[in-house]
Structure formats: structure tokens, C-alpha cells
């Protein structure tokens, strides 16, 4: 009856939701975009999706950015918080701040960072799926990471989160 949709949903839903939550910072918007991405996949048909996971990420981020106005307020709130006040020893706090820092990057950089490091997509795949010139994926990624670092907390957070 479900023709593999349940399997796809159960394997891809959790990480897509987390990816879009990280990118947009808004639970409702992420949920909405994930559901919409699955509906679009359903409409396209399972057999037409070569790599459903990556496909869903592309469509999901597009959906998310369509409704990005909603996310702006959240971004502003995070931006106002600035770096954490206490020297970070708590990995949970550090992670939250790292995610907050991520949301200060431009849309495209955020998406590419998530595609590369959370989804583990190759430079070629990112280039193809997100229509970015193949030569510029690496540079975009490096710039993004560099900016995360510039939002000073980042280096410390990395250590905290890696413990």
C-alpha cells in the first residue's frame, strides 16, 4: 500500500527535519518544509528519484526559503544574543551557539555547509544539486567555515562540541 514511502519517510524524515531546523531555526517552518518536500517527492514518484535523500534536501531547503520571512524574527533574536557569556564548557550550550552562528551565514552558505558536513554530499553532488559552479563549492564552504570562526565563539565551540 505504501510502496516504500513509509521506509523512505522513516529513514529520511529525521535528518531532513534536523537539517532544515538548523538552517532556518524555526521548528514549525522546518516541519512544514519537510512535509512539503515529501509531498513533492510523492508527486514526482519514487522511481524518478535517484538519490531521494539529497533530492529531499534540495527541495526542502527551497521550500524553507520560500517562507523565510517567518524565520527572520528568530534570526534577529539569535543575533542579539551574541557570543555566550560564560566560557563554554557545556557542550549543549556550545552546540546551540554553533547553530546560532550558522544562522548568521547567508542562505547559500548555510545550505552548502549542511549539505557537506551533515549530509556528507561530495563537492560534485553539491554543485549539481544546488546549481553551483563546480569550482566554487570548495571556496563557498571555506568562506562559510571561516565566517563561523570569525563569529569568535566558533573555534572554542568546536573543541567543546568535539569532546
Amino acid at each position: 500500500m505504501t510502496d516504500g514511502w513509509r521506509e523512505l519517510y522513516e529513514s529520511e524524515y529525521p535528518r531532513l527535519l534536523r537539517a532544515l531546523l538548523a538552517i532556518g531555526g524555526d521548528q514549525d517552518a522546518a516541519e512544514d518544509a519537510v512535509q512539503e518536500a515529501f509531498v513533492k517527492a510523492h508527486r514526482a514518484g519514487l522511481d524518478r528519484l535517484q538519490r531521494p535523500g539529497a533530492w529531499l534536501l534540495v527541495v526542502g531547503t527551497r521550500e524553507l526559503f520560500r517562507h523565510r520571512r517567518r524565520g527572520r524574527v528568530e534570526d534577529a533574536k539569535w543575533a542579539e544574543r551574541g557570543p555566550a557569556q560564560t566560557p563554554g564548557t557545556d557542550a549543549i550550550v556550545d552546540r546551540a551557539d554553533l547553530l546560532a552562528a550558522l544562522r548568521q551565514l547567508p542562505d547559500r552558505q548555510r545550505t552548502v555547509v549542511v549539505a557537506r558536513y551533515y549530509y556528507g554530499l561530495s563537492y560534485d553532488e553539491i554543485s549539481r544539486l544546488f546549481s553551483i559552479k563546480s569550482g566554487t563549492v570548495g571556496a563557498t564552504l571555506h568562506q562559510a567555515i571561516e565566517r563561523l570562526r570569525q563569529i569568535q565563539i566558533a573555534g572554542r565551540l568546536a573543541r567543546g562540541a568535539m569532546r
Partner: protein, 504 residues
């Protein structure tokens, strides 16, 4: 370079872990949109979310309400004792020293072009002891609302008016007579406001003034009751909310019965999701719930949806917020066995257009801002989706388009393609389920046309449709997609919805 790469990897992995350890609420497959969709191949449950991005939309006809004939009396407009002020009473003046009265929070409206307004609580300064003082205090406080009190994506036309170059602030007087508020606007010389803010200013004043219980209509006048003219528009009509909401068709007062499983005992409908999209649309999803079997999913019982003006039957406490203007009641006719029907629970929602929700085991009563049209879908016998309102440009009394959305830029055709294909989907309640569409270019020439069949015809439950529209690949620029019912009598377009889109 290599070290830099490695450092990047370290930070990247930390980030991945941070993303992974987020703990969002997850939706089970059973409750996912595709699972619901599976039940009835292709029901567009959530595509209305596309109505966001309102400010970027092209302004299509806002509605000809400024020149519309005098509104008929609002349905069951009550005149409550609290709202009655003698006509001979002097007009309350704006010159109220703000410092003398304590500030408090009141509900006011902010506007978007081409869309219904969005309400929010603002801090007001001034006396609030009598109805006319409250209206006046609210309107005059709107001129100086803090940016943080203005909902995202909206405009505050009254502050626009005050900020007009060379113009000192507008002064406003208010007089209440029965359910009519007369608002006198004393515009200093050189004051002005232009489109689109003129219409938005009127929308804002009418919605905000009628927030006072018992006040349903507004007459705008110039100083000392002279006819008001702004930007060459003459305001000589008495306006109610529904004249300025932007919706061309309104919800009719009355009840609609829907069939269901009347035999199985103790089954009612449970609200499982409530979305309020862009301040325009409320979408509620109900599922049949068998109370005798641990609230297991079941076919819905018969139910009735009724719409009426609030005749004062919804009690309210001023501190808690004013009563809603209209009520939409969804009553499930439960085949009762044993104990059933717990006491209702009242929830103050205050997110436009849904203000209040009362729920009990036998149904839900929604308090609404205005009479925007509603529709009901049943993707299957267990689910009911009730939608109220939406983008006025996408909705008529028989058509509701979900895709494309206004001002959407259509995806270019792939290289070498003969035609560009896009999706057209929505809901319909039309004769023989026949939904007709045509695409016009900016010189009103029809460049493509066709029709599709909705899942249902003219039953109480709306049908849905989802089709592909093909236009020549070389088409560029602004297009209008029209969707309508062809009159069974003469084929003329009924309930037409026109969506402006762009093709690059």
C-alpha cells in the same frame, strides 16, 4: 592549505553533531502529509503555505469596496448597552494628555497590500473608561506604535499618515451611535496619503474601531461632519469589516449538514492540527475518534458546520480580550452511549483571523474576525479539513487555488522544450466537478486553456484538483491564470479567480 582544510573538517564535524543533537518534535508517518495523501491520491493539504511573502506580491485589484454601494446591515448586529452613546454627546477629542492615564494593551490592526489585516496587542495611552474613549484611545495610540508591536510584514497606515512630509499628525474624533462609529478626521492642510496606503488606512480604521464590542460599522467624515476626501477618493459610505476585508465573497450565515457514520456509537471528531498561515488562512484538521475504544481512528460521524455573527452569546471579560465578531461552529453528531460531552474548554488564540476557540467532546466553536469564506474537505471518511479564508486573490465561493501563488515566478522550461509546464492545483465546488482554466498574456490574449475534473462536484464537501498547464516555452513576462466554473446555462465564467504570475 591542508591544515586549513583539516580545521574546516573539525568544525564541520562539530557542526554536524550539533545539528544531529537537536531534538525537534517529530511527526510519525501516519500523521505525515504523504500518508494522508496516500489515502486519496493527491490531496493538497498544505500547499496554502505558499501564501507567505505577501509584501512581494503584485497588487491585483484590492476590491472595489471604496465605491461599493452602502453595505447592507450587518447580520444580527446587536446594540449592546455598553456601546450606546447618545448622538448628542460631543465628539470626544484627541487632545488627551497621555501621561494622565495608565498604559494598557489593546487589540489593533495592521495591514498588507491586497490582503486582510493582521491584529496585534499594542500599548495604548489614554482613557479607556467608556466605549468612545476606548475607540479614540486605540486609534490615536496607533499613530505612535512601537515597531516591536507591529507584526512582521505589515504596515501601520496611521503612522504613515502622521509621517507624511510636511504634515503634522492627523487628529481624530470619535462618536458612537448604536453600532455605528463616526470617525472625524481633521487633516491639516498639506496632509495626504496615497495609494496603496489610502485603502489600507481605511481598512485599518474600520477593523480597529469595530473591535469595540457592539460597534459594527464605521463612517469616516472630515472636520465637523463634512465629507472626507483623501487622494481624490470620496468617503461617503458606511463601512463594515466585510466591506474592506478584500474578500469578494463572504461566508453565508447558516448551517451546512455533512453526512457521516451515524451508527457507530461514541465516535466524535478530534482536532489534530491547527495552522494559521500568513494571518489570512486558518486550517483545522479533524480525525474521527472512537471514545469507546481508546480514541482509535474511526469514520467521522455526521456533522454540521454553521456560521453566524456573534450575537453576544459568547461571554467575555474585557481583560481577557474582546469577543469575536463571527462564530463558526463545527458540531459532531455523536451517537451517544454512556457518558459523553464534557464541559467545554475556552482558549484565547488571538492570532488573526482566529481569536477564540471553544472545544468540547461534541465539537468546536471558533471566534473569527470577519466573514471570510470557509470550505470543508474530506480526504477520506476519517478526516475533515476545514479552511477559513486564505489569500483573497486565490479564493472565490467555489474555487480555491493553492498553486501557483500570486506573483510566483514560474520555473523556466528545460533547454529544447516545446512547452513550459507548471502545476495548477486547488479545491473546487463546481457543477459536474468541471474546473476550467485559461492563461492570458499581458495583452489579455488567451495563450492556453483547458479544463480538469475535481474529485467532487457540488456536494457539501469540496473536491480537489491537481493538473498540469502547458504554455509555449518562449512565453515571457506577466501572465494571468484564470480558474473558474463555466456556467451550466451559458458557459460564462462563474466564481473566477485570477492569479498573476511571472515567467522569466
Amino acid at each position: 592549505m591542508t591544515n586549513e582544510r583539516d580545521d574546516d573538517e573539525v568544525l564541520g564535524r562539530a557542526l554536524a553533531r550539533a545539528i544531529e543533537t537537536q531534538a525537534p518534535n517529530e511527526t510519525l508517518y501516519e500523521r505525515s502529509r504523504i500518508a494522508v495523501r496516500q489515502l486519496r491520491g493527491g490531496f493538497p493539504l498544505a500547499q496554502f503555505a505558499g501564501a507567505a511573502g505577501a509584501l512581494l506580491m503584485i497588487a491585483l485589484a484590492f476590491g472595489a469596496w471604496l465605491t461599493r454601494p452602502l453595505a447592507s446591515e450587518p447580520v444580527a448586529a446587536p446594540t449592546t448597552a455598553t456601546a450606546t452613546a447618545a448622538a448628542t454627546e460631543p465628539v470626544a477629542a484627541t487632545a488627551v494628555p497621555a501621561s494622565e492615564a495608565p498604559s494598557q494593551r489593546m487589540w489593533a490592526y495592521f495591514t498588507r497590500e491586497g490582503l486582510p489585516p493582521i491584529g496585534a496587542f499594542i500599548t495604548v495611552h489614554g482613557p479607556t473608561d467608556t466605549p468612545d474613549h476606548r475607540v479614540l484611545t486605540l486609534l490615536s495610540s496607533l499613530g505612535s506604535v512601537a515597531r516591536s508591536d507591529t507584526p512582521a510584514g505589515t504596515t501601520n497606515p496611521l503612522s504613515q499618515a502622521g509621517a507624511y512630509p510636511g504634515g503634522s499628525a492627523l487628529s481624530v474624533g470619535v462618536r458612537l451611535t448604536g453600532d455605528l462609529a463616526t470617525i472625524e478626521i481633521d487633516a491639516p492642510k498639506g496632509w495626504g496619503i496615497r495609494d496603496p496606503y489610502t485603502k489600507q488606512l481605511v481598512q485599518q480604521m474600520v477593523y480597529t474601531a469595530t473591535e469595540e464590542p457592539g460597534v459594527h460599522r464605521v463612517q469616516l467624515t472630515g472636520q465637523s461632519g463634512t465629507t472626507l476626501k483623501i487622494d481624490q477618493l470620496v468617503f461617503n459610505k458606511i463601512l463594515a469589516r466585510d466591506d474592506v476585508s478584500g474578500y469578494t465573497t463572504l461566508a453565508a450565515v447558516g448551517s451546512t449538514d455533512f453526512p457521516g457514520d451515524a451508527k457507530t456509537p461514541s465516535v466524535t471528531g478530534d482536532l489534530v492540527s491547527r495552522d494559521i498561515v500568513d494571518g489570512s488562512l486558518v486550517r483545522l484538521t479533524f480525525v474521527g475518534s472512537d471514545r469507546a475504544h481508546n480514541a482509535a481512528k474511526a469514520d467521522l460521524p455526521p456533522f454540521t458546520i454553521s456560521f453566524r455573527a456573534n450575537d453576544g452569546s459568547v461571554p467575555h471579560n474585557r481583560a481577557d480580550g474582546p469577543p469575536p465578531a463571527y462564530l463558526l461552529d463545527i458540531a459532531f453528531h455523536v451517537n451517544v452511549q454512556g457518558e459523553f460531552g464534557a464541559v467545554g474548554h475556552v482558549e484565547r488564540v488571538d492570532r488573526s483571523p482566529l481569536r477564540l476557540m471553544t472545544s468540547s467532546d461534541a465539537g468546536y466553536d471558533l471566534g473569527l474576525d470577519d466573514a471570510r469564506p470557509w470550505r470543508a474537505y474530506m480526504p477520506d471518511t476519517q478526516h475533515l479539513v476545514v479552511e477559513i479564508g486564505g489569500d483573497p486573490r486565490l479564493i472565490s465561493d467555489r474555487i480555491a487555488v493553492y498553486m501557483p501563488t500570486p506573483a510566483e515566478t514560474l520555473i523556466p522550461a528545460p533547454p529544447g522544450a516545446v512547452s513550459r509546464i507548471f502545476e495548477l492545483s486547488g479545491g473546487a465546488r463546481v457543477f459536474e466537478a468541471n474546473v476550467v482554466w485559461r492563461v492570458k498574456d499581458n495583452s489579455q490574449r488567451v495563450i492556453a486553456q483547458g479544463h480538469t475534473t475535481a474529485s467532487l462536484g457540488t456536494s457539501a464537501v469540496w473536491g480537489s484538483f491537481d493538473t498540469e498547464v502547458a504554455i509555449p516555452a518562449a512565453t515571457r513576462g506577466s501572465l494571468t491564470i484564470e480558474v473558474y466554473e463555466a456556467s451550466p446555462k451559458d458557459g460564462s465564467a462563474q466564481g473566477l479567480v485570477a492569479i498573476p504570475v511571472t515567467v522569466r
